[in-house]
């Protein structure tokens, strides 16, 4: 320990001279990046519209999501109902708009839980090392071995069906993925010179983790989180399709597909809108994730 302290001291002693020659930090210009990367621009624009639609659903939806019109069941698209109506005579467009709230809420919740468990766990075991790392890594491997959706279905069954529980379950399946990435990154960063220097100055472990390790290790996690939003969205749709997620009469894209499938021979056009909504949203998250990956790691070329 004294040895590393000594090296850290001698290196930091030389630092002021080096500082003068360092170039000024590059400021990240968000709008310039977005303008240069059209795919990211389109994805972000689409997602912004979706977020607005979710927030302002009561204002923009032409009908209340559960308002039934029993005279107009499974109607084809028309002036009154742009995307037609479902088997209970509810307006498909309105349910689609309200469904966007559940989709975004579900994706954020699942990923949020994955981050809340996975990131601290990964940093902790990577930072402490030794047997803690050994045990922690085996736990991560053990949970990772499950097919994610099988684990999610099982955990949802235990917690009780419903959207929030289903997404806690999905987050539970995400956590080991993020913990593994975070652990690997922490192992790289914790041996960096600046961490050693800070240790030499007597920085506390908490300070080291929060100020030096976390900011420098988090980059791959940002990419992973963006891609996970797509996975979570697909999981929500799937679990709601199985009626383990969003419960009727609340609207969700997956649930809408389940009903549409029931009446597919009568009104096949009902299955398109929710499917495309899921596809486009997942695609937007994936595209954005890939763009951020390229942005953060200039050594990889796009496609």
């Amino acid at each position: 320990m004294t040895d590393t302290n000594m090296t850290a001291m001698t290196q930091t002693a030389a630092a002021p001279a080096a500082r003068a020659t360092l170039p000024p930090p590059v400021r990240f210009r968000f709008w310039a990046w977005l303008w240069a990367d059209k795919r990211a621009l389109v994805s972000l624009a689409y997602l912004s519209v979706l977020v607005l639609a979710a927030i302002f659903a009561p204002v923009i939806a032409p009908y209340a999501p559960n308002k039934q019109n029993l005279m107009d069941l499974l109607a084809p698209p028309s002036g009154a109902h742009w995307l037609g109506t479902d088997d209970l005579g509810r307006d498909t467009l309105s349910r689609l708009i309200y469904g966007s709230y559940n989709a975004l809420y579900a994706a954020s919740l699942a990923v949020g839980i994955g981050v809340a468990i996975g990131v601290p766990l990964g940093v902790f075991i990577g930072f402490v090392g030794g047997w803690v790392d050994q045990v922690g890594s085996r736990i991560i491997d053990g949970v990772l071995a499950f097919p994610p959706l099988v684990l999610a279905v099982a955990v949802t069954g235990a917690l009780g069906i419903g959207l929030t529980n289903a997404m806690i379950a999905v987050g539970f399946a995400f956590a080991p993925v993020l913990a593994r990435t975070m652990r690997a990154q922490t192992l790289v960063v914790k041996n960096a010179l600046y961490v050693e220097a800070a240790t030499g100055f007597g920085a506390s472990r908490l300070h080291l983790i929060l100020r030096h390790i976390l900011p420098n290790a988090i980059q791959p996690v940002i990419v992973e989180v963006t891609l996970m939003l797509a996975v979570a969205l697909l999981a929500e749709a799937g679990l709601s399709f199985l009626s383990l997620g969003v419960q009727p009469p609340e609207s969700s894209w997956g649930g809408m597909l389940a009903r549409a499938y029931h009446y597919v021979e009568v009104a096949p056009e009902q299955m398109y809108a929710p499917g495309f909504a899921i596809l486009f949203t997942a695609l937007a998250f994936n595209t954005l994730g890939e763009s951020i990956r390229v942005l953060l790691d200039p050594t990889i070329k796009r496609r």
């Binding site: 499950f146 959706l149 279905v153 549409a260």
Partner: protein, 319 residues
């Protein structure tokens, strides 16, 4: 100390022990995630006090958790996964009768995915930057984002209800009528395979590009070796391990997606079994399916490692 492939297998098996312990513990502790008294939750709303006491005894809820775990694990190792709370059928027998449907579906999708994804990846890599390359990579992006079950619904609408080429739902036992079972599994396998196609195409493309851009390939090219010989003799041989590893990882995802695909096509596999049992709080069945599937995945990964080591002696030597 053993070397070579047997030594590697022995070492992998040793590494699997802690993973198995964690995985089985997760399955076991599912019961403890239930809010309130698990015995009452399992028994349902209208259960009699005797039924609750009986369940408490079946699960051994009165004993300390770790004792229960080893008790449960001991039973599971002997093939006793308990009985369904509804039909009272043996959980293991229930799963074994349904597992072939799911395994057939997953293998079928894997084969389809490899048969399409690998050539697409090679095509994209060898024609890097062309329109064809761009089309393939774009389609691959779609393949990752498309909800499999939606694709399944569309396939049913088009090819079963529309053209009537394929049956819309159901499955046939692979042991009784092998050919017909493949016919029944075709549409679900196609729906299931999109993710594999997309991931394999992308990964094969980038792995191959990396190999083709490496020093020794440049040397071979400089020595006048034709591009065909380079691709087939040197390029593909070096990405074979990557392909195998990625295909192995896809098995995990395929079992995931199969849960929903089996619902769309009404296939009586383990995916349908676990979602139905989760909806109905048939907990021993949920635990049983999760346990069997996690073991299948762990063994698949082991198989991939062994195959890699068999084909490439360096892998076995490096462990």
């Amino acid at each position: 100390m053993m070397y070579g492939v047997p030594g590697m297998v022995a070492q992998r098996l040793m590494q699997l022990v802690p993973v198995m312990i964690v995985a089985t513990f997760v399955v076991f502790s599912l019961v403890y995630m239930m809010p309130g008294d698990p015995a009452m939750m399992i028994a349902g709303d209208y259960a009699t006090a005797e039924r609750i006491a009986e369940i408490r005894q079946i699960y051994g809820f009165d004993r300390p958790m770790l004792v229960q775990y080893f008790f449960w694990l001991g039973n599971a190792l002997q093939g006793d996964l308990g009985h369904s709370l509804f039909s009272n059928e043996s959980v293991l027998r229930l799963i074994l009768s349904r597992l072939p449907h799911t395994v057939l579906l997953v293998l079928y999708a894997l084969v389809l995915g490899a048969a399409l994804g690998i050539p697409l990846g090679i095509l994209a890599a060898t024609r890097q930057g062309t329109t064809l390359d761009k089309i393939i990579t774009s389609v691959a992006s779609l393949g990752v984002a498309v909800p499999n079950f939606w694709l399944g619904i569309i396939l049913v609408t088009l090819f079963s209800l529309g053209y009537r080429w394929f049956p819309a739902t159901g499955a046939v036992s692979v042991f009784e009528k092998p050919l017909e079972s493949l016919y029944y599994a075709t549409l679900p396998a196609v729906a299931l395979s999109t993710g594999v196609v997309a991931v394999l195409a992308r990964q094969v493309r980038s792995a191959l590009l990396e190999v083709l851009g490496s020093q020794y390939i440049r040397t071979l090219r400089a020595k006048g070796l034709g591009s065909g010989a380079i691709l087939w003799k040197h390029g593909l041989r070096n990405v074979a391990a990557t392909m195998l590893t990625i295909a192995g990882l896809q098995v995990n995802r395929l079992f995931s997606s199969a849960v929903i695909i089996e619902a769309v096509f009404a296939i009586p596999g383990v995916g349908n079994l676990i979602s139905y049992s989760a909806l109905n709080k048939d907990f021993p069945v949920v635990q049983g399916v999760a346990l069997v599937l996690v073991l299948v995945v762990i063994l698949t990964n082991l198989l991939v490692d062994v195959l890699n080591a068999t084909f490439d002696p360096r892998v076995a030597a490096s462990t």
